[in-house]
C-alpha cells in the first residue's frame, strides 16, 4: 500500500490558483490531482526525504501552471509583437481586443514569472510533465547538482 503522505502540503498549488477564476482553476487542479496521485505511487518519489518530496510536489504545481497559464500568454505576446511589425496595432478576437495594454500586461506577467523561477534555480525547460517518471528523474538530478 502506498502512503498518501499527509505531511506533503498543497500550499504551492493553492497559492498559484487562488483568485485566478474557476475556468482556470478547474483544469489546473484536475491535472494536479491526477499527476500527484501518480507521483505518490512512484517508488523513486517514496524513497525521497520529506523536503524533497515537498519540492517535487511544488514543482509539479508550478509546471502545470506554466503550461496552462504562462505559455498561452507568452504565445499571444509573440503574435502581437509579430503583427506589429507588419502594421497592426491591435488584434481583435471576436468581441475582445488585444491591444497595447494587453500586450504589456501579458509580457510583464510572463517575465515576472520567469524572474521568480530563475531566482530559485528552476529551469524553464524542465517545468513540464511529459511523464511522471521523467519528471522525477529530471528534478532529482537538478537537486543533486545543486547539492541538497
Amino acid at each position: 500500500m502506498f502512503l498518501k503522505d499527509s505531511s506533503i502540503m498543497d500550499e504551492m498549488i493553492n497559492a498559484l490558483t487562488k483568485g485566478i477564476g474557476v475556468e482556470q482553476y478547474k483544469p489546473i487542479r484536475i491535472s494536479y490531482n491526477v499527476l500527484k496521485d501518480i507521483l505518490f505511487k512512484d517508488p523513486k518519489f517514496n524513497n525521497c526525504t520529506d523536503d524533497i518530496k515537498q519540492f517535487l510536489v511544488d514543482v509539479l504545481a508550478l509546471s502545470i501552471f506554466h503550461q496552462h497559464v504562462i505559455i498561452p500568454f507568452h504565445g499571444a505576446s509573440n503574435f502581437i509583437s509579430g503583427a506589429r511589425e507588419y502594421g497592426a496595432e491591435k488584434v481583435k478576437m471576436a468581441g475582445y481586443v488585444l491591444d497595447r495594454d494587453f500586450y504589456d500586461e501579458a509580457d510583464k506577467i510572463t517575465k515576472s514569472f520567469f524572474v521568480i523561477t530563475k531566482k530559485y534555480g528552476l529551469p524553464i525547460e524542465k517545468l513540464h510533465v511529459s511523464s511522471v517518471n521523467t519528471f522525477i528523474e529530471d528534478w532529482l538530478k537538478i537537486v543533486k547538482d545543486y547539492g541538497s
Binding site: 487562488k18 477564476g21 499571444a76 530559485y120 534555480g121 524553464i124 525547460e125 517518471n133 541538497s148
Partner: protein, 274 residues
C-alpha cells in the same frame, strides 16, 4: 547557481508566488476563456516567421482602417471579413516567384470529396486559394480548395500521446493523402520552401511517444513538433523540420481520384449547420 533554492527557501518562494497571483489574478480571470486561442496565436506567428526566414516579404490583408488585425476564431464567417497574411517572394529582378496566403481557422476541402471539410488551426495556400460558395440555405462559407492547399498545422496545448499522433495521420490521409499513399513522389528534405503538414504540441511526450513521432515523421514526412514550452512557446528548430517544394500539381493527378457524390453536385449543394 541561483541564490535561492526552492527546497531551502520554500516559504519565501510561496510568498513570491502568492504575491504574483494576487497581483495578476484579475488578468488571468479576464482571459480565462481564450487560453487555447492565445496559444494557437504563437504558432500562427511562427509559421509567418518561417516564410520571413525564407526571404518572403510579408503583409497583412484585410487589416482594418484602425490597424486592427481581425483574428478568425472559428470556422464560421467569411474569409473576406478577417485578416490574414500574404507572403511574396521575388527574384533579384523583382519578378514574382511565389505568392502564398497564411490563414487561421479556415476550412480546408477534403482531397476525397468536395463537400467534406476540416478546419486546421493554421493553413497555407496559394494566392486566391480561398473560395466562398453559397450553401443551400442562402448562407455562404469560405474554404481553401484542396488543389490550392500547400500545407496545414494543427496546434494542441497538451502533451502528445500515441492516439493523437496516429489520429493526425488520418487527417493527413483525408486532406493530403499523397503524403501517406505512394509518398515517394514527394521530395521531402529539410531546406525546401514549405513545411509539410504538422501537428504541434505545447508539451512533450516520453520515450515511447518520441519513438512513435520519429517513426511516423520519417515514414510519412509530416512533422510532429512537441515541447514548445521549452522555448517559451516558440518553434525553435525550423532547420530540423520536414519541408517540400509545395508543388502538388503532379501529385494531384496521381493515385487519388476525387469522388463526387451525385446527390451533392452543383454550386449550391452544400448545406452545413455552420
Amino acid at each position: 547557481m541561483a541564490a535561492n533554492t526552492p527546497w531551502k527557501d520554500r516559504k519565501e518562494l510561496l510568498k513570491e508566488i502568492s504575491s504574483f497571483t494576487f497581483r495578476n489574478g484579475g488578468f488571468f480571470k479576464q482571459n480565462s476563456k481564450r487560453m487555447s486561442d492565445l496559444f494557437e496565436m504563437s504558432v500562427y506567428n511562427d509559421v509567418v516567421k518561417f516564410y520571413r526566414r525564407h526571404k518572403y516579404s510579408i503583409e497583412i490583408i484585410n487589416l482594418q482602417s484602425d490597424k486592427t488585425f481581425n483574428y478568425k476564431l472559428s470556422p464560421a464567417g467569411l474569409s473576406k471579413n478577417f485578416s490574414y497574411y500574404l507572403a511574396k517572394k521575388e527574384n533579384k529582378n523583382g519578378v514574382l516567384k511565389d505568392c502564398i496566403e497564411i490563414h487561421h481557422n479556415i476550412k480546408i476541402q477534403s482531397r476525397h470529396d468536395n463537400h467534406m471539410y476540416y478546419t486546421a488551426d493554421v493553413s497555407v495556400c496559394s494566392k486566391n486559394g480561398v473560395k466562398t460558395d453559397n450553401l443551400k440555405r442562402k448562407n455562404s462559407h469560405s474554404y481553401i480548395a484542396n488543389n490550392s492547399l500547400i500545407t496545414f498545422f494543427e496546434v494542441k496545448n497538451m502533451n502528445p500521446f500515441p492516439e493523437i499522433i496516429y489520429n493526425f495521420s488520418g487527417v493527413v490521409l483525408e486532406i493530403m493523402p499523397e503524403f501517406i499513399i505512394n509518398n515517394t513522389n514527394i521530395k521531402i528534405c529539410k531546406k525546401d520552401k514549405h513545411l509539410t503538414p504538422s501537428i504541434i504540441f505545447s508539451g512533450s511526450g516520453g520515450q515511447h511517444v518520441e519513438y512513435i513521432s520519429n517513426n511516423i515523421s520519417e515514414r510519412y514526412g509530416h512533422n510532429i513538433i512537441s515541447g514548445l514550452f521549452i522555448n517559451k512557446g516558440r518553434i525553435y528548430s525550423f532547420d530540423t523540420l520536414n519541408t517540400y517544394d509545395g508543388d502538388r500539381k503532379l501529385l494531384l493527378n496521381q493515385d487519388i481520384v476525387l469522388q463526387e457524390n451525385p446527390e451533392l453536385n452543383g454550386d449550391n449543394a452544400d448545406d452545413f449547420p455552420f
